[in-house]
Symmetry: C2
Subunit: 215 residues, 2 copies
């Protein structure tokens, strides 16, 4: 059965999933890149970005697992780009170049309509202006029975968690304090929402946690 | 040189150091006891509370380390008891019975003056009404060159962190989501305050983190 998952979602020890002040220069917010260092060391992520080598241990297994059986993605507007407000033109097509690392339909939550963008390699960006439930329905229709991956950012993951729509969430906790930015746990009662930590593996670079919703 | 430390301070994965609604029945707040399960399994804590046995591995080493070289403690009013507002009488003498597990002077932060209480086993509770800096000065004077341990709760540890007064903090992160209660990281920018994660060890029951202030 198709599941809804968040995977390889990086956090700091103090719960921040991104630094403050996202911009073209700081796609992950100020100091946010440090959260993802574990991922950039893995073979899975290096291959995805056209680089050689990379680690092949537990971190890589979790990275690879996050991409398995994904039939569609859902992203928040800020994960798609730094542009705020109405789209000034058709110029911005994501952070990832001509061939983004999705290779399936991607549904971008936004308040501003825009025509779909067909990219190389199987990725098409669809812009959804009527909320997360609509995005989920369209993603499920497009996924062909595979899983839906909610990519981020923090606000988008929080919305899906609050709606009880995420079945499984893989958090990767970097051994750093970020101190500021977007905090995944702020105002979120994961216990009341039915989530438990079902799996926990610590590596040299991060702490992997699998949160599952109890049904 | 005498240091100021917080030790064996238990948190949930989502940063809560205590559950909500502390009371006589729930000294650690609703569901808060689960944070401390790792500690209650150790030989150090079991011995402290007059019980036999207990685990002797890494968790126990961290538990024991948190009590080493402590010359004085500082506690918040709520860690001392569930009584709020002015002391109605002299009846409440802490959660720990006639012989509390401190065995050194303990300075309790409160807005309401009260005479010191001499307990069995070397513990004396002193009540400090003029703030954390005063408590720290008096604790240092009493500690005879040994370390000061800031025991908790969350609000007290936050106050000392914000004042830059904690040199080292040992957090023990239980593999649970608590969802509500007192969150150590709420409104606290540990990075800006100079704290880094200097040590991290994961065990079956908890994740030990040592945060140190960069000087």
């Amino acid at each position: 059965m198709s599941r809804v998952c968040a995977g390889a979602f990086s956090l700091s020890l103090d719960g921040f999933g991104a630094g403050p002040d996202q911009s073209l220069e700081n796609p992950l917010g100020v100091n946010g890149m440090v959260l993802h260092e574990w991922a950039f060391k893995t073979r899975t992520f290096r291959t995805m970005f056209g680089q050689e080598g990379g680690e092949t241990g537990v971190d890589d297994q979790f990275a690879a697992r996050s991409f398995e059986n994904v039939g569609a993605w859902i992203l928040g507007r800020n994960m798609f780009g730094p542009v705020r407000g109405p789209w000034p033109d058709e110029h911005w097509k994501g952070w990832w170049g001509a061939n983004p690392p999705y290779h399936v339909p991607v549904f971008v939550l936004t308040h501003y309509a825009r025509a779909p963008i067909v990219m190389e390699g199987g990725t098409t960006f669809h812009f959804i202006t009527d909320g997360i439930e609509s995005a989920l329905r369209q993603a499920q229709a497009a996924a062909g029975g595979k899983d839906i991956r909610v990519g981020g950012g923090v606000s988008t993951v929080q919305q899906f968690l609050r709606a009880g729509q995420i079945d499984e969430m893989h958090l990767a906790v970097a051994p750093v304090f970020l101190g500021a930015g977007e905090n995944l746990f702020a105002g979120l009662d994961l216990r009341a929402l039915g989530y438990v930590c079902a799996e926990r593996i610590s590596t040299a670079n991060t702490i992997h946690l699998i949160a599952k919703k109890q049904r």
